[in-house]
């Protein structure tokens, strides 16, 4: 097998192996980064929801206390405020979802769906679980969800949700007396669930991966071509010439030409040595003739 074939075979093996390893590692890293990005978005949304709830409780509700004596103002409810805020967000980003999924809500729009009920029940069964992260398929693609429990920690919650009699009459007028009552202190009544689409970050990761792999392939190809060119011009062609001249000299053609080249690299040194060897051989032959 020719040297160039051996060389190319090894080079190709290294390139393929490097390509596969780099592809695997970068794919995993990009996917992890995409998921982490989605998770960070989800956490940010959750924090924004909590901030909205807190703002409503501490600043908005006190301003509406008087109005609550006349009619129930849902804007005074932290869950309503957080949900409405994300409703505005969804006008531009419809795939982002925030829900205060509740098993027994006053407002029917907060009622937990099947999979949300499962999440809430996990929180209800294991009081130490404070966060759940998962993925699920949605009509618009895969989505990551982040959930945290909603627990009755304040008596203020029970002012509206303990019994119908204790609840503000204006609230009962609005939501009726069938739902949203019977909550107990420290009970997990629902979960805040943020759902963030993974499609876009994943697609971005795939694009980045493809770009990276294509760039890597181009670089490998350029290196491959360049190395082959260099190998041919700097090694193979010169060695072939030396071999041809040595072959001529060995057959007695002492006028086959000069081995010597101007190059001072290893092949140049070899050429100079072979040139000296040829000179010695010519002189030895002349001495034998005399």
């Amino acid at each position: 097998m020719k040297l160039i074939w051996k060389f190319n075979l090894v080079l190709l093996g290294i390139f393929v192996l490097g390509f596969l390893v780099a592809g695997y590692v970068s794919w995993k890293a990009l996917q992890a980064n995409a998921r982490e990005e989605v998770l960070q978005n989800a956490r940010l949304m959750m924090e924004a929801a909590l901030a909205s709830r807190n703002y409503t409780t501490t600043q908005v509700k006190p301003l509406l206390e008087t109005q609550l004596k006349y009619r129930f103002v849902p804007q005074s409810v932290p869950a309503y405020a957080a949900t409405e805020q994300f409703g505005e967000l969804r006008r531009k980003h419809p795939d982002y979802v925030y829900k205060e999924a509740t098993l027994n809500p006053s407002n029917p729009r907060n009622r937990a769906t099947d999979w949300e009920t499962d999440v809430v029940n996990v929180f209800r069964q294991t009081s130490t679980t404070m966060e759940m992260i998962g993925e699920r398929d949605t009509p618009t693609g895969r989505a990551l969800y982040l959930a945290s429990p909603i627990q009755v920690k304040s008596k203020a919650c029970l002012d509206c949700h303990s019994t119908v009699d204790a609840a503000p009459k204006t609230m009962v007028d609005l939501y009726g007396s069938a739902n949203g009552f019977g909550w107990k202190m420290d009970e997990v009544i629902g979960a805040q669930i943020v759902s963030v689409p993974m499609t876009v970050p994943i697609a971005r990761a795939v694009t980045t991966f493809r770009t990276f792999m294509a760039s890597l392939a181009v670089v490998f190809l350029a290196i491959f071509v360049l190395l082959n060119l260099m190998l041919y011009t700097m090694v193979i062609r010169r060695v072939t010439r030396l071999a041809g001249m040595a072959d001529e000299v060995s057959l007695g053609n002492l006028d086959a030409g000069e081995f010597k080249t101007r190059s001072r690299d290893e092949i140049g040194t070899l050429s100079a040595a072979m040139d000296r060897m040829k000179t010695s051989l010519v002189q030895a032959m002349k001495m034998l003739d005399t």
Binding site: L63, T66, Q67, K69, Y70, R71, K169, T170, D173
Partner: protein, 288 residues
């Protein structure tokens, strides 16, 4: 009584007003073009104008006035309506006693602090010492919502006196059912909430602490007979006859009064003293 004596009486009746009544409150928030009737002259009501005993506030359709009084008592009138700050001293009442207002009609929100207030309506009288109330008076129809605290509600009897009072508690809505009777429900009905002025759903602001200097009021004409007539025909008619007597110098006012002069005995006496001259003794028959 001669014509001269009558006019001297009119001038004498004006003296307390000319001497300058004491400030009892301040109009700390004024919107629209409300006016205040002081004596027999209308003035444009402007923010931080001082209010005096006997002032009548008139608020237009899009108007709003917040009046704040000593001790934290405040009242707000929104939309078309009028309100009369009864002169307590003139009635011999304790100047430190409850604020007394007459509201023929309109929407009114009151925040009462001790010594509270007494609101006279066409068909009832409402009193409260600690409470926040919303009152809607429309002729004999009355709606009262006790936002906080408590109030006492008494129907006005045909003789003008207040009937037995009823306690209105926090959160209750009272309305007139038929003469002298009220209906109370435990919450504000939707129809009431739907019609209540939007700003009454919020607490009355407290601005008087800013204590801005009193602006000079600009006169906006004299009271006409049409404007005076409801007050002349009210419970304090005699007092208003005395108060508006100065307007009898205006021929237009006199012309408007003349067809109904029989209602106003003191004015009749001024305008037609000849009717009240001592009748000459009838010649005795046979006294030859």
């Amino acid at each position: 009584m001669s014509m001269l004596q009558c006019w001297a009486l009119v001038l004498a009746s004006l003296f307390p007003a000319l001497a300058g009544a004491a400030d009892i409150g301040v109009a700390s928030l004024v919107e629209g073009n409300p006016r205040v009737l002081r004596g027999a002259t209308w003035y444009k009501l402007v923010p931080w104008a001082r209010l005096e005993d006997g002032d009548i506030l008139s608020v237009g359709e899009r108007g709003h006035v917040l009046a704040e009084f000593a001790g934290g008592t405040a009242l707000s009138v929104v939309g078309a309506g009028s309100l009369y700050l009864e002169p307590r001293a003139a009635k011999g009442a304790d100047a430190g006693g409850p604020l007394a207002v007459t509201v023929p009609e309109g929407w009114l929100k009151l925040a009462a602090r001790t010594p509270g207030f007494r609101v006279r309506l066409a068909s009832a009288e409402v009193t409260s010492t600690e409470g926040i109330l919303v009152v809607h008076a429309q002729g004999p129809a009355l709606e009262l919502f006790v936002e906080s605290g408590s109030a006492r509600l008494a129907a006005l009897l045909p003789n003008g006196n207040a009937g037995p009072p009823q306690d209105a508690k926090h959160g209750e809505h009272w309305s007139t059912a038929e003469a002298g009777r009220f209906v109370a429900v435990a919450r504000a009905p939707k129809a009431f909430v739907d019609t209540i002025p939007r700003r009454f759903l919020d607490p009355l602001p407290s601005l008087a602490a800013k204590d801005k200097p009193a602006p000079a009021l600009v006169a906006d004409g004299d009271v006409t007979y049409a404007e005076a007539e409801p007050w002349l025909g009210g419970r304090d008619g005699a007092a208003f006859e005395k108060r508006f007597a100065v307007r009898l110098r205006d021929p237009a006012f006199r012309r408007a009064v003349e067809p109904r002069i029989a209602r106003y005995r003191s004015w009749d006496r001024m305008l037609h003293p000849e009717k009240y001259l001592p009748k000459p003794a009838a010649p005795q028959q046979g006294a030859q």
